[in-house]
Symmetry: C2
DNA sequence: TCAAGTTATGTTATTGTATAACACTTTTTT
DNA sequence: AAAAAAGTGTTATACAATAACATAACTTGA
């Protein structure tokens, strides 16, 4: 089996990840006639500071630090809600945290590999998972609305150490 | 594909689900020389009152109602921790809720089908999912520690209506 | 059997996560 | 410009989980 360590686990030009995410968000919002307001863009940018899922309260603190005034939870949660709705970010249920979607323009389900060592979470290919989930649900007569797959373990980089 | 609606979604003799769970829990605890105290058994029984995942605070309220005195969170969380440790219950991350394991004596990963209509959650067969997850992780060079699969949708009973 | 050690539960306080309700401002529409 | 809609601010509160320490109950081994 060919091993393909996720980009996020390798050292890479991360600024281009951020730039691409902001550009894509702009395109999507323009296309859908919804507003990528300064606050929403700022939250998205904060989330994209790394490939590690970020909690709502961490985002709150970063916003407060950046603007030098208090930011209340609803402000953050509304921005998160918007970003989730347009699939610009995903929620990692097992961590109560949020992470940027690297391909918001391609509709897809998000399956995650999460390293418990370095904290990086990466979306993993649907190749095997999507059909397995479809078959599992079908065999039980279930209609799928949404799905959450979170695989916790150690990423290739952390395994080496 | 043969359709096999989960037992939990059909009308069935649920008392026998409860009895079986308590019996199995007793066997397991005896075998491992750990104590299924009255509190732990009571919490397990409450969780088994239905096939719907139950939140910690709901359990707290039910305990308080049953004993007519206040029960504090740690009391419940410690019981939950014990039951989780021995795999007598599972946690549903997307709901912050807990559900009984129907086969605690067979070691297995727990994959869930959750009906957003009636609230019932059922463990689904690992047949397709386990190898798909293994392949996905292997192809990314990940070492798996733990996994969480939660498929949200509509169960066969709710689809009919 | 009784003291010592261990395990379990009680209690109070606090931290972390998320939403409700209402006020105010900005943007869009007519 | 007025009305409507969308977004943000603010306060309060609900829900989820843990920390720290006190007390009670069981186990163990002289
Ligand atoms: Zn990057
Ligand atoms: Zn790692
Ligand atoms: Zn049943
Ligand atoms: Zn249902």
């Amino acid at each position: 089996m060919p091993q393909q360590p996720p980009l996020a686990c390798q050292s890479h030009d991360h600024q281009s990840c951020i730039d691409a995410a902001i550009l894509a968000a702009g395109r999507i919002c323009r296309e859908r006639s919804v507003r990528l307001t300064p606050l929403r863009q700022q939250v998205l940018t904060l989330i994209w500071q790394s490939h590690k899922p970020l909690g709502a309260y961490a985002i709150m603190d970063m916003l407060a630090a950046a603007t030098t005034r208090r930011i209340a939870p609803p402000t953050v949660y509304r921005a998160l809600e918007f970003l989730l709705e347009h699939k610009l970010i995903h929620r990692i249920n097992s961590l109560n945290a949020y992470i940027g979607c690297p391909e918001p323009e391609n509709q897809h389900h998000s399956y995650f590999l999460i390293c418990s060592d370095c904290g990086i979470a990466t979306e993993c290919p649907a190749k095997y998972l999507a059909p397995a989930i479809a078959k599992t649900a079908a065999s039980a007569g279930f209609d799928i609305d949404d799905q959450s797959v979170e695989i916790i373990g150690r990423c290739p980089s952390c395994r080496k150490r």
